[in-house]
Every structure is written in C-alpha cells, then in structure tokens.
C-alpha cells in the first residue's frame, strides 16, 4: 500500500483481490488491484490456476499421441493448435502435405477463427452488459460446431489434423453444410454490428478505453488483433504463409485507434475476411485426391491396404506401438491464431518421443500487457480490458 494525494488530503491506496473466480475473467485468473478510489494505480495478474503441465506430458507421448493434448491448450481454437503442432512436426520430418489436405486445414481453421471470435464477442458484450448479443453469437457458433462434428465426430476436441494430413476423408455432405453456413453468416455479422457498433452505451464503454501505443504493444511482444489495432500490419498468414495461405485472397484489417473499440472492429472485420477465405477454400478443395501424404512408417496406411498388404499392416502396428523417430533437430513454426501468433517449438533427439514441445501461447504473452492497459483507468474498465485482449486461461496456463 502506498500513500496518494487526494482533494481532501493524504489517503492510503486499497488492495483489492479480483478473482480467481470472477465471472468476467473468462477462466481462472486473479488480479491484484491497487486502487486509489476507483482508479487503478497498479495491477498484478496472477495466473497458473489451470496449469496442467501439457508441455511435460507431451514429452511422455509419441509424436502422434501428443496431438490430443494440443486440443486442450486453447479450448476455443483446438484446430489451430492441432495445425501448429502438426506443422512443426512435419517441418521436423520434412514432409510435404497434399494440397487437398492443406485447403481443408485452411477452411477449418478459418471456421474456427470465426467461432472463437463469436465466443469472444458474446462474452465481451455480456461483460459490458449487452446480454442479447451473447445469445445470438452462441446460436451461430453452434452451427460451426456442427460442421466440426460432421468432419471429426467431435464438436470441441477435434484432433482432426494429423501428422501428414487429416485423420479422415472429408465426410459426405460437408459442402452443403459449409455452403449453408456461408449463406447465413454475413447477414448475422451485420446483425451484431447493428446491435453494438453505433450503440451509445457500447461506444461509451469501449472508445478510448484500454489504449496502448504501437511502441509499447510491440515491445511487450503483443500480437494478433491487439497489435493490428495499434497500427502494425503483422499477420503470419500474409507474412509467412503456411498451409497454402498465399493462394488465398483476403485483407488484414488494421486500425490505429488501439482502444477496446478498435479491437472490436478488427475482430468483426476479421470474421468477414475469414468468411471470404472459407468461401475460396470451399471452391478450391477437389472432390477427389489424397488427404494424407505418402510417408511409410510415419503416416498410417489406408485401412483397405492393411487387409491386403503385409507391409501396410506392419507399418500400422509400428506407428501405433512404437511411433516414429524424426532426425535430431529443432523446429519452430508460427501460425496466426484468433488471439495472435501461436508458435510451436518441437525438438527431437532421434527417439520416438519429443525431447521438448513448447507452445508460444499468444494469450499468455498478451496478458502481461494487461497492467499497461488498465493502470490509470477506472475499475469498471478493467472488465472491458480483460475482455478486449481475448485471453483463454487454458492457453495462458497450459
């Protein structure tokens, strides 16, 4: 506690413990707030309540087994986590992925981005008192989850991307399902904007709140919509294209206002851009073709082959008991997750289990800028600022 000067003389600041169960922290986050009246003097986020040691557990699994753990890091972006892990292992192995699988990966991760932004928009709006937006967002998110269920058999923890391609052939009728969603969604995004963008209360709660300069944002290693709202055009999909993103046409929304409102506008614009990418991917994906690369001993053989070819059966048995051993080396891959730069560092020592798997979690790194956003602001704006950096505590704590 420190002493501060007020209008009626000297006073002591108060330390307020916010969380770890506060409903607006989007998970289990605790923040120690030092307050002068209602103004935040100092803030100290305390995380780790959801730490489950995923990186350590990965070291005890084979490369293929670890995929199921990656789903659980950022539970709003499981396909993105599958993708970055698979890309890192594929880089370690030097595997090329068939185009058909790459386009399916792009389409599904972009759908995932929309669904993640929908959850963000709904919960951010509910934090600021707009109840109905939450219900509309979750209505549309449900449609996306139905598409995931169609592809992977799972709504959330999909594990659909595997090393070397996809787990399964895209299901019958997926085109109709995605088309139906693409027809419906653009008008729904307009609907959210009608409810919020020019809403006086929404503007009052977000405009000019949680400002961070471009210099501070980049110095604090922030990435994603937060950095783009500060005026820096940094998007891994454009700058370091992976999974054939260079074949898609889309814009990267950039703004300069760098407040909660700007970040909201960026995410809404990103949803529209993602819809464009999904549309293009849908047109690009051929009906026929392999969805897994041909790499004996690494990628499991087709089910049919196992019944007729002895080698296929042997490889299948070896992959699922012993695993495969990449050559020693380290690979780092970064992709653009809904929250920012999601990186995966995989190191191999030549054994069937990874020597080290590390995730560069954008939520974790963006969260360290929270004190910068809220110091000097009112306590009610803390809620808006936590929402605006879009943290997922599962990813923060891993």
């Amino acid at each position: 506690m420190t002493t501060v000067e007020t209008a009626i003389g000297q006073a002591k600041t108060m330390v307020l413990n916010m969380g770890p169960q506060h409903p607006s922290t989007h998970g289990v986050l605790r923040i120690l707030l030092e307050l002068d009246g209602e103004t935040v003097v100092k803030a100290d986020p305390d995380c780790g309540y959801l730490h489950t040691g995923i990186e350590k557990s990965c070291e005890d699994k084979t490369y293929s087994q670890a995929i199921t753990l990656t789903d659980r890091i950022d539970y709003l972006n499981p396909l993105g986590n599958n993708l970055v892990y698979c890309l890192a292992v594929e880089k370690l192995l030097g595997l090329e992925i068939p185009k058909r699988a790459q386009y399916v990966r792009v389409m599904l991760t972009e759908l995932q981005r929309i669904s993640s932004h929908l959850v963000w928009l709904g919960t951010h709006a509910i934090d600021l008192g707009a109840m109905s937006v939450f219900l509309y967002c979750f209505r549309e998110r449900e449609e996306i989850l139905k598409i995931f269920e169609l592809f992977a058999g799972q709504r959330m923890m999909t594990s659909y991307f595997r090393i070397g391609g996809l787990a399964l052939e895209p299901p019958a009728g997926w085109r109709q399902a995605v088309d139906k969603f693409l027809k419906m969604m653009p008008s729904r995004v307009d609907e959210y904007e009608t409810l919020l963008t020019k809403n006086r209360i929404w503007m009052g709660r977000t405009q000019g709140i949680g400002f961070i300069s471009a210099e501070d944002a980049v110095a604090l290693s922030m990435t994603g919509p937060t950095l783009r709202a500060a005026g820096l055009n940094y998007d891994n999909r454009k700058l370091y294209p992976y999974s054939s993103y260079d074949e898609f046409e889309f814009n990267v929304p950039v703004r300069t206002d760098s407040d909660c409102f700007g970040r909201y506008m960026i995410r809404v614009a990103e949803m529209r851009e993602s819809l464009k990418i999904v549309k293009q991917a849908c047109d690009k994906i051929p009906n026929e073709g392999p969805v897994r690369t041909n790499a004996p001993g690494i990628v499991p053989p087709d089910r049919e082959k196992m019944k007729t070819e002895m080698e296929a059966l042997i490889y299948h048995f070896k992959i699922f008991t012993e695993g495969f051993s990449p050559a020693p080396g380290e690979a780092f891959v970064a992709v653009e997750s809904p929250r920012g730069e999601l990186g995966c560092f995989v190191a191999s020592d030549g054994s069937p289990k990874p020597l080290r798997v590390h995730f560069r979690a954008p939520s974790y790194i963006n969260l360290q800028a929270l004190p910068k956003l809220i110091e000097g602001q009112l306590i009610s704006d803390v809620i808006a600022c936590i929402g605006t950096i879009d943290i997922v505590l599962g990813e923060v704590d891993r």
């Binding site: 290693s221 370091y240 560069r360």
Partner: protein
C-alpha cells in the same frame, strides 16, 4: 519461400558478423530456419544491436524457451525467436548453459516482453536471469519444489514430497 527465408537470414548473419565476429559462434541451418549460437556473455549486447540497428530492427521478441539435453553438457539451451516486422525476417538466437551455472543475462532491458517469458523458464527450468526485475514463479505454486520441465524431473512428479500433492501429505 524457404529459400527466401534463409537468404534473408544470411544477410542478418553477415551484418552481425561484421559488427562483432565473436558474437556469432556458430550458425545452424535446419529446414530453412537459421539459428545463431551466441556466447553467453555477448547475448545482451547482440540483442541490443539486433533490436536497435536500422538494418536489422528485430523489434518483436516472439518467444523465449529452454531445452534440457540432460545428461549431456552443456545441458540447457535457451532459444529466442526474434521477428523484424519492418524487414519481415525471423531468426533464432541460441545460448548454451551448463547445468552447474544456469545463469544468463535477462533480455528484459531490450524487450520488456521478455518479462513473463523468462519468468516461465525460471519457474519450469530453474534458469536464473541476471537483471530481471521480478523473477518469481508464475505458473506453479510459490511453495513448489523443483523445476518440472527438467529432464531429470519425472513426468508423474516426486510422489513422496509435499509439493507433489500441493501441501497435502500422502500418509497422514
């Protein structure tokens, strides 16, 4: 794309060599990525140069993580992923640290974003960062014993220590 990335990295290596040849101890190329191995004493000067030099401008510290090669020595490897947004370049810096003295200069004065990255490495690997303003545990409870991401720490934890069960003793 890969060709391009390694060419871009080669320019960086040349510029850093021209600045101080001793700072670039080794250059590793693997799958199109370039890693510069830096002597421990020269990490911070090199990082400062990489961030502030007009031709380099590595303004974003994307990631910092550790790798434990136990039981070989030097067992620890710190890997720093640097990004230059203006020049669209990526490079990895690597520092090798021995098990007996796992200490390295903090990069917090160069990139304030190193703060939580280094706290995480301190928490999980027990690497000490000189000049870090707030080196506390971040993910694990403050009374946790040991550094679980070290290779000699069992995956299932030390079952008989109090910290394995978070303060609740097993045979009470």
């Amino acid at each position: 794309m890969t060709e391009n990335a390694s060419q871009k990295a080669a320019v960086v290596v040349e510029q850093l060599r021209a600045w101080n040849a001793a700072a670039v101890a080794e250059v590793i190329e693997f799958r199109g990525d370039t890693t510069i191995v830096v002597p421990r004493e020269l990490l911070r000067p090199l990082a400062e140069r990489a961030r502030s030099d007009g031709d380099l401008q590595f303004n974003l510290l994307s990631d910092a993580t550790c790798l434990d090669r136990f039981p070989t020595e030097p067992r620890f490897e710190m890997n720093y992923q640097l990004v230059s947004i203006p020049h669209q370049r990526r490079i990895t810096l690597r520092v090798r640290l021995s098990g007996s003295d796992p200490t390295v200069d903090s990069l917090f004065p160069v990139w304030p974003g190193a703060n939580w990255l280094e706290r995480e490495v301190f928490d999980l690997f027990g690497i000490r960062f000189n000049g870090h303003p707030d080196l506390r545990r971040i993910l694990l409870p403050t009374d946790f014993e040991g550094h679980p991401l070290r290779r000699d720490f069992p995956v299932e934890g030390h079952r008989d220590t109090p910290s394995a069960s978070f303060g609740i003793r097993k045979n009470l």
